[in-house]
C-alpha cells in the first residue's frame, strides 16, 4: 500500500530477499527430512546393498592365485599345457612358495584350488613344509666354501653394496608390492635396506630374494634386517645366479663388499639347482600336468569358474564343458527349488483363498477371533512349527498312528510323509500360509458385498457372479500373496533342512553348506547371485504379464 513503485525483490521480515529466505527454509526442511530417514538409509546401505555387492563380487573374484604365485603365473602364461613345465617355472614356483609359506598364505591357496581339483590342498601343504629343506643344500654348500656366508651382517653389506653405493629402489618397492598383495595390507616406511644397483645387476635372483626377505623381516617380523640370517631361498637364489657364466665374468671385476667370497663361491663346485626334481621328490603330484593346468586356468584375477560350477559346468583345457553326470547337482536343485516353490505357492492360494473370503465376509468380531487363529502360528517359532510337523508326519507319528488305528493303513505299510518333497511342501505351506491370507484378506475387505448382490439380482448364478465380479477384484490380493510366498519359499532353508530328507532340499541348503561347511564362499556367492537373478526375472515377468500396479498389500 505504501510504496508501490519499489520493484526490487520482495524482502522477508529480516531484509533478505524472500526467494533466498524461502529456499533456505526449504533446504533446512529437506535436510531435516533427510536426517529423519538417514538411519534407515544408512542401515539399508550397510546391511543390504553393501553385502549384496560384496557377494556379487566374491562370485567372480580370484586374485589369490596371482597374488600368491605372481612369478609362477607369469611363467605359465605361455605354457602349452602339453608337457610338464620347464625348470624355470619350477624355480619361479620355489621362490613364490617360499615367501608364501613364510607368510603362511600357501595353504589358503591350496584350499582355494582344491575346489577345482582334488589333491591340491595337500600338495601345497606338504610342499610348503619342504621348501625350507630345498634351499638348505645350497646354504650348507656356501657356508662350507666360506663361513662368512653364515653372517647376517656380511649378507646385508653384500646385498646393499656397501656405504654410498648406487641403490636399486625399484627392486625393493617391487618386493614390498608383492608382499602387500600377498598379505592384502599396505606397508610404508623405511625397510632399513636397499639393494645395491651394481650387485642387483650381477646377482638379479639373489638381490630379489634378499629384498623380499628384507621386506618380510622388517614389516612382518618387525626385526632389523641386518641382524637376521637370510632365508634358505636367498642361498638358493645365489646358487642359481652363480650357474650363469655371465655372472662369473661380471664378478671378476666387481669390487663391492663380499666380492671375494662371491668369487670363491663362483670358483667352487655348487650343487646344481634342480627345482623340478626337488619338487617332485617332495610330492610326486607336481609331475602331474593336471595340477599345473589348474594353476594356469585359475591364474587371472577374475574368474567365471564359480558361476560355471554353479550351473554344473567346468573349465577344462578344451574350453567349457558340462561336468560328469555323477557330479551334476545344481541344475537338479534349481529346478526342484522352482518347482516346489510353485507347488507351495499354489497350495497356499488354494488353502488361503477360502479362508480369506470367510474372514472378509464375517462380522468383525468373529473375523477378529479367526484372525488370531491365522496369526497364532505366525507368531510361533519357525523351528517349533517345523519340528511339530516332524512329530505329525513321521512313520511312528500322529497321522500314521491315527490311520493305523482306523484300519485305513496296515501297520507294516505306514505312509512315508516326511524326509521327502511331500513333507517339505506340507510344512512350508503351513508356515507360509499367513503371508498369503493377509494380503488376500485386506484386498477382499475392500470389495463391497453389494457388487455380488447386484450381479445376482441381474440374473447371474452364484458361480458366474463369483467368477465375473468377485474373483477379478480379488486378483491383486492373490498376486501380492503369491509374490510374497514364492520369494520367501525360494530362499527357504531351515524347513527343507529338517523335513526335506534328500529329495526335498532346496538350493539354499547347498548355499548354506558352502558357506559354513565347505567354505567355498565363491561358489555360494555364485549360487546366491543366480537365485537373486531368477527372482528378479520372475518379478519382471510378473510385472509384464499381470502388472505390478495390480498388486495390493492392502486397501
Amino acid at each position: 500500500m505504501s510504496d508501490t513503485s519499489d520493484t526490487g525483490p520482495v524482502l522477508a521480515a529480516d531484509g533478505t530477499p524472500l526467494k533466498r529466505s524461502l529456499r533456505r527454509a526449504l533446504r533446512a526442511q529437506k535436510m531435516r527430512a533427510l536426517a529423519l530417514i538417514a538411519p534407515l538409509l544408512i542401515f539399508v546401505l550397510v546391511a543390504f546393498i553393501a553385502p549384496i555387492a560384496d557377494m556379487l563380487f566374491r562370485s567372480v573374484e580370484n586374485q589369490i592365485v596371482g597374488n600368491t604365485l605372481p612369478m609362477t603365473v607369469e611363467e605359465l602364461r605361455d605354457w602349452d599345457g602339453e608337457e610338464l613345465p620347464e625348470e624355470t617355472t619350477f624355480r619361479a614356483l620355489y621362490f613364490d612358495l617360499f615367501l608364501a609359506s613364510e607368510a603362511k598364505e600357501h595353504t589358503k591357496l591350496g584350499s582355494r584350488l582344491n575346489y577345482e581339483e582334488s589333491g591340491v590342498s595337500s600338495l601345497f601343504r606338504t610342499t610348503g613344509r619342504d621348501v625350507d629343506d630345498m634351499g638348505e643344500v645350497f646354504q650348507d654348500a656356501l657356508e662350507e666354501i666360506s663361513p662368512e656366508f653364515e653372517e647376517a651382517q656380511v649378507w646385508y653389506d653384500m646385498m646393499s653394496g656397501g656405504e654410498g653405493a648406487d641403490s636399486n629402489e625399484r627392486l625393493l618397492s617391487n618386493q614390498i608390492g608383492r608382499l602387500e598383495q600377498l598379505e592384502s595390507d599396505i606397508y610404508s616406511g623405511d625397510v632399513g635396506f636397499v639393494p645395491g644397483a651394481a650387485i642387483s645387476d650381477i646377482l638379479p635372483n639373489t638381490a630379489r630374494a634378499y629384498s623380499a626377505f628384507a621386506a618380510f623381516v622388517h614389516f612382518i617380523d618387525e626385526d632389523v634386517v641386518a641382524e637376521e640370517d637370510p632365508w634358505e631361498a636367498v642361498y638358493a637364489a645365489l646358487a642359481l645366479d652363480l650357474e650363469d657364466p655371465g655372472t662369473v665374468t661380471a664378478l671378476a671385476t666387481y669390487d663391492g663388499p663380499g666380492a671375494d667370497i662371491l668369487r670363491q663361491a663362483a670358483a667352487a663346485e655348487l650343487p646344481p639347482v634342480d627345482m623340478q626334481t626337488a619338487f617332485i621328490e617332495s610330492n610326486e603330484d607336481w609331475s602331474r600336468v593336471e595340477y599345473w593346468e589348474v594353476i594356469q586356468t585359475y591364474s587371472p584375477p577374475y574368474t567365471t569358474g564359480y558361476f560355471l560350477n554353479a550351473v554344473d559346468m567346468e573349465k577344462t583345457t578344451e574350453g567349457i564343458a558340462l561336468r560328469d553326470e555323477d557330479e551334476r547337482i545344481y541344475g537338479i536343485l534349481f529346478k526342484r527349488t522352482m518347482f516346489m516353490s510353485m507347488m507351495i505357492t499354489f497350495s497356499c492360494i488354494a488353502l488361503g483363498y477360502p479362508i480369506a473370503w470367510i474372514l472378509a465376509n464375517l462380522p468383525a468380531r468373529t473375523a477378529n477371533l479367526l484372525m488370531i487363529l491365522v496369526l497364532l502360528p505366525f507368531w510361533t517359532s519357525l523351528l517349533v512349527r517345523t519340528s511339530a510337523w516332524k512329530v505329525m508326519l513321521q512313520q511312528q507319528g500322529v497321522i500314521n498312528d491315527v490311520l493305523v488305528w482306523l484300519g485305513l493303513v496296515a501297520d507294516e505299510s505306514r505312509l512315508v510323509m516326511i524326509n521327502n518333497q511331500f513333507g517339505t511342501i506340507v510344512a512350508m505351506t503351513h508356515i507360509l500360509l499367513p503371508f498369503m491370507i493377509l494380503p488376500m484378506y485386506s484386498v477382499m475387505q475392500t470389495i463391497p458385498p453389494s457388487y455380488l448382490r447386484a450381479a445376482k439380482s441381474l440374473g447371474a448364478t452364484p458361480f458366474t457372479a463369483f467368477r465375473r465380479v468377485y474373483f477379478p477384484q480379488s486378483v491383486p490380493g492373490i498376486g501380492a500373496g503369491s509374490i510374497l510366498v514364492f520369494i520367501l519359499a525360494i530362499g527357504y532353508y531351515i524347513t527343507p533342512e529338517i523335513v526335506g530328507g534328500t529329495t526335498g532340499t532346496f538350493i539354499s541348503n547347498r548355499i548354506a553348506y558352502h558357506i559354513s561347511t565347505s567354505l567355498n564362499w565363491g561358489l555360494a556367492a555364485a549360487l546366491g547371485s543366480i537365485l537373486l537373478a531368477v527372482v528378479l526375472i520372475l518379478y519382471w515377468a510378473y510385472d509384464k504379464i499381470v502388472g505390478i500396479d495390480n498388486v495390493k498389500l492392502g486397501g
Binding site: 589333491g119 598379505e183 612382518i220 537338479i332 511312528q396 558357506i515 559354513s516
Partner: protein, 371 residues
C-alpha cells in the same frame, strides 16, 4: 591382516617368555566356543569351574557356535574383530583353520602342561596332535546304536558294521549322516575291501562308484541326519532300527534316559575334538587364554571330564585316572570308545585324505543323494 602380524610378534614373545607369561597383563574375561549340550556341560564342570575357582575375578562366557566355527572365524577375521578366545572344533576343522591361517600355531611342549611323570605334552598326546594349531581334548567315535526291541526274533543283535547293509536279516530303516565321510568307508569295507586299502580304492572313480553302489542297496531305507541329536531321537521314536551318531549321545540315551538301545561298536569311526586359539588375539587376552588352556588340558582335568561324558581323554596319562560317572556312579571306562573291548575293530579316518578329496566326493555324494 595387521592383527595377524601383531599376533605373530606377540606369540613369539609369549612363547619365548614361557613360564613368565603369568607375570603379563591378563584379560579378566574369556569367550569359549563349544557345542552346547552335555558336552559343553562336561567342559564347564571339569575345567571351567575349577579354573574360575582358582582365579577369582575372571569370568568365562560360552558361545555355542562350534558347528559353524570355521565360517564364523573366517568372517570375524575378515572383519578384523575376533571376539572368541578359545574354540572347540573337530580335528578336520582345526586343520582347515590352520590352513587358512585363522588358528594360531602352537608349540605343544611349550604351552601345555607335561604329564605328571614328566612326559612332554607332545608325547603324551602323541599322534592325536593332527595339526600344529590343534590341542586335542577327547576321542569320540561315530558308531551305531540299535533298538534292542526291534531285533527280529530268533536272530542275534547286530554286531558287525555289515549288518547295517544287511536288509534281509535286519529289516528296518537306518539313519546315517548326510555326508560321504565314514559312510563311503563303511560301504567299501562291507563290499569286501580290506581296511588298509579303503582310501586307495576310494581314491579312484571306480572306487567311488563301488561305494555308492553299495550304499544304493540300502538307500531307500536310510534317513539322513545332519545334527547329532537326530539319531537318538529317531531311535527313541522307533522311526529307525539302527543308526549312526556320536557315542556320547548314545550313552546318554541308554544310561541317562533308559531307552531300549544297544551299542554296536564294530568299525566305529574315531575322531578327535579339541581346542584352537584364534589367530589375531590381543596380548592380554592371549595371555589369559594360554593360561586357561594349560590348565584345562592337563592330565587331571581331561580325566575329570570323563566323569560327565563318555568320551575318551586325549592324553595317554589321563586314561588310568578315568573314574565313575559323576551322577550315575557307573564305571565310565567300559563306555569309552577307546576301551579295549569296544575298540577291537575301529576305523581311523584319514584327515589328510579327506581334506584333499572332500570337495570332490561331496559333489558326487550329494548328486547321488539328489537322484
Amino acid at each position: 591382516m595387521k592383527l595377524t602380524k601383531t599376533l605373530l610378534a606377540t606369540t613369539a614373545l609369549t612363547v619365548a617368555a614361557g613360564a613368565s607369561a603369568t607375570a603379563q597383563e591378563m584379560a579378566d574375561s574369556m569367550t569359549l566356543v563349544s557345542w552346547g549340550g552335555a558336552y559343553q556341560e562336561s567342559q564347564q564342570k571339569a575345567y571351567v569351574e575349577p579354573y574360575l575357582a582358582n582365579n577369582p575375578g575372571v569370568s568365562a562366557t560360552w558361545d555355542e557356535s562350534s558347528a559353524e566355527a570355521v565360517a564364523k572365524l573366517r568372517a570375524m577375521n575378515e572383519a578384523g574383530n575376533v571376539t572368541w578366545d578359545l574354540v572347540d572344533v573337530v580335528a578336520s576343522d582345526a586343520m582347515r583353520l590352520c590352513d587358512e591361517g585363522l588358528a594360531m600355531e602352537l608349540d605343544h611342549d611349550e604351552v601345555l602342561a607335561a604329564a605328571p611323570d614328566g612326559t612332554d605334552a607332545s608325547d603324551d598326546f602323541g599322534d592325536l596332535i593332527v595339526s600344529d594349531c590343534f590341542v586335542p581334548q577327547i576321542v569320540y567315535s561315530t558308531t551305531f546304536g540299535y533298538r534292542t526291541d526291534m531285533v527280529p526274533e530268533g536272530t542275534e543283535p547286530p554286531s558287525s558294521i555289515c549288518d547295517v547293509f544287511d536288509l534281509e536279516t535286519y529289516p528296518g530303516k537306518r539313519s546315517l549322516q548326510k555326508r560321504p565321510i565314514d559312510n563311503m568307508e563303511w560301504a567299501l569295507y562291507c563290499d569286501g575291501v580290506a581296511k588298509d586299502e579303503i582310501y586307495d580304492v576310494l581314491g579312484t572313480d571306480e572306487g567311488v562308484d563301488r561305494a555308492l553302489a553299495k550304499l544304493d542297496t540300502i538307500k531307500d531305507q536310510v534317513v539322513w541326519w545332519s545334527a547329532g541329536a537326530e539319531t537318538p531321537q529317531l531311535l527313541a521314536d522307533g522311526e529307525v532300527f539302527l543308526g549312526s551318531t556320536y557315542n556320547g549321545r548314545l550313552f546318554s540315551a541308554i544310561a541317562e534316559q533308559d531307552q531300549p538301545i544297544g551299542m554296536m561298536w564294530d568299525m566305529q569311526s574315531f575322531d578327535l575334538d579339541g581346542w584352537i586359539v584364534p589367530a589375531g588375539l590381543p596380548e592380554d587376552r592371549l595371555a589369559r587364554v594360554m593360561d586357561f588352556l594349560k590348565f584345562a588340558t592337563d592330565t587331571q582335568r581331561l580325566a575329570d571330564q570323563a566323569a560327565y561324558i563318555s568320551y575318551g581323554p586325549a592324553r595317554e596319562s589321563s586314561a588310568p585316572l578315568v573314574g565313575k560317572h559323576a551322577e550315575l556312579g557307573i564305571e565310565m571306562a567300559p563306555h569309552m570308545p577307546t576301551d579295549p573291548a569296544n575298540a577291537t575293530n575301529v576305523h581311523i579316518y584319514d584327515y589328510e585324505w579327506w581334506a584333499d578329496n572332500r570337495d570332490d566326493l561331496d559333489a558326487k555324494f550329494q548328486a547321488w543323494l539328489a537322484q
